[in-house]
């Protein structure tokens, strides 16, 4: 492999890894706080992209792309609060909470994606680029939009980390994830923090959806494939470990780029799965997961 080729693999791996890290971090946050998988995560990505389209220049309202993005992210966070209230809160403490919420969040996915088709129709939409043009990194030319994703991901993930580590709400979110009973006994309003964590994850989903949508086109199924990928990444990284999720995202992004380059686009996905299965056979708790949960 020449140095040029290596640079290409590295750059495209970083782009993919950044997208994966952003979309999986929200899923991971919901898992380690509420102890459920949110299957509506992909639909929330799609919703974010469509809302941004409507708000931005090419849509109805004609807001500048950055403002449109921020407003769309905030709106999806509000939808997250609503989903938590309607679909998850009624089942806190239920014996089969994990399974019931698989059903309710899958139901939400169906409602959201059919609703999106109803409102916006099946035609593809093009989001205005947040950063137009091309840039060259390590001799590889990529769109400025992709470069933006590579730059934004560490900032957003770093902010998320700092929020969870240092802010009192963030610490509270970690506390209710680790031991809701003990959290309640120090006076934490547990359902309120669940709602905040869920809304934050929804905001991350929307942000990812908008970033993906501005590189590709916006379709009603925009979030479907990323949802599956994000699930795999969260499991591979180790359930309950945000750091594991982020490492896994970049690792899988780079591995995928390398496989696409060496064995081609047809065999890359299945080979990647084979590798992941192999790793999980040898290390069932994932990269950084806890052995007992």
């Amino acid at each position: 492999m020449t140095l040029d080729a290596l640079a290409t693999v590295l750059v495209s791996g970083l782009v993919m890894g950044s997208v994966y890290a952003l979309m999986a971090s929200g899923l991971s946050l919901v898992w380690s706080t509420l102890g459920i998988f949110n299957f509506a995560h992909g639909a929330l990505m799609t919703l974010g992209a469509y809302l941004a389209w409507t708000l931005a220049g090419s849509g109805v309202l004609g807001l500048p792309p950055w403002i449109a993005m921020l407003v769309a992210v905030a709106l999806v966070a509000a939808v997250g609060v609503l989903l938590e209230r309607l679909l998850i809160r009624p089942f806190y403490g239920h014996r089969a909470m994990l399974l019931v919420t698989v059903m309710t969040t899958l139901a939400a996915t169906v409602f959201l994606s059919k609703g999106i088709q109803l409102v916006w129709g099946p035609r593809l939409k093009e989001l205005p680029a947040l950063a137009p043009g091309n840039v060259s990194i390590l001799g590889t030319s990529i769109s400025a939009q992709e470069a933006l994703i590579v730059g934004v991901a560490p900032i957003v993930l770093g902010a998320l980390w700092a929020f969870l580590r240092f802010s009192s709400t963030g610490r509270g979110i970690r506390a209710v994830g680790q031991n809701p009973q003990a959290a309640q006994l120090i006076g934490i309003d547990v359902p309120r923090l669940f709602a905040i964590a869920f809304a934050l994850a929804a905001a991350l989903a929307a942000l990812t959806g908008i970033l993906i949508g501005s590189v590709r086109l916006v379709t009603p199924s925009l979030g479907d494939e990323p949802l599956i990928k994000a699930l795999i990444i969260v499991i591979f990284g180790g359930l309950g470990s945000m750091a594991g999720t982020i490492w896994a995202a970049y690792l899988i992004g780079l591995a995928e780029a390398l496989l696409v380059f060496t064995i081609g686009i047809y065999w890359a996905p299945s080979t990647l799965f084979l590798l992941l299965i192999l790793v999980l056979v040898l290390r069932p708790q994932g990269l950084m997961g806890k052995v007992v949960r």
Partner: protein, 241 residues
């Protein structure tokens, strides 16, 4: 002076089944009171019913005169009635100091955070040594100290301790008993659940015997309770013969 805690006609349990019924007890404003009795007879459930962590409960609970039987758990904590649960693992993946700082969650507790942290670290020097360690790495005794420390960080006006010495060595038991005595000497009333009669007697002014989900006897400090009587309470009258 108003009692710290007045409980009257308190019943509660899980699903359709009452674990405890018609509980009545009081804890004076600077009193130490024990709840003792055999395992599985409802001592923990009584504490859960008082701290509102038990969903199904009825009866009246007054905390310094204010009714709290309809309050949500976080409101009860905010009022200063702090429940330190049994075998609490607290937050396994959080550092000790971080855990203690977090425990000062309610506005009242947050206002006193720095001074309470100093107090806790002075009371339990071992926690001070391990302040950067994760809670999951603590030994059983240290975890119990952290659990009580967390309770103190909540700025308690009264503490309810559920088997604070469960599974600890006699030496550690003594250490914790001293810590609890220090806390109580600071004017904080305490309701402590214990199975170890000797231990609870050394710690409290008065105690209640809990049997089959009800309080069946009240024993003052001056009432001499001999071994046979306790055996009788635990195992029925036949056991003393």
């Amino acid at each position: 002076m108003t009692d710290a805690l007045e409980v009257d006609g308190l019943s509660g349990g899980y699903d359709d089944y009452d674990v405890v019924s018609n509980i009545g007890l009081t804890v004076g404003a600077s009193e130490r009171v024990g709840l003792f009795g055999p395992n599985g007879h409802g001592k923990t459930t009584i504490l859960n019913a008082i701290s509102a962590t038990l969903a199904r409960r009825r009866g009246t609970v007054r905390f310094f005169g204010q009714p709290v039987d309809r309050a949500r758990p976080q409101a009860i904590v905010a009022a200063g009635l702090i429940h330190v649960p049994q075998a609490n693992t607290v937050f396994p993946d959080m550092e000790i100091q971080e855990t203690l700082e977090l425990a000062a969650w309610t506005p009242r507790a947050r206002a006193a955070r720095a001074e309470n942290l100093d107090r806790v670290l002075a009371l339990f020097p071992r926690l001070a040594e391990r302040r950067r360690q994760l809670a999951r790495t603590l030994s059983g005794g240290e975890r119990q100290m952290l659990s009580i420390g967390v309770g103190l960080m909540c700025a308690p006006r009264m503490l309810m301790l559920d088997e604070p010495t469960l599974g600890l060595s006699p030496k550690l038991k003594d250490e914790l008993a001293q810590a609890i005595a220090t806390i109580s000497a600071g004017g904080i009333p305490i309701l402590v659940v214990e199975q170890d009669v000797a231990f609870v007697l050394s710690l409290v002014d008065r105690m209640y015997f809990v049997n089959h989900g009800a309080i069946t006897r009240e024993i003052g400090r001056r009432d001499a309770v001999d071994h046979d009587e306790i055996m009788a309470m635990y195992f029925g009258a036949g056991a003393t013969a």
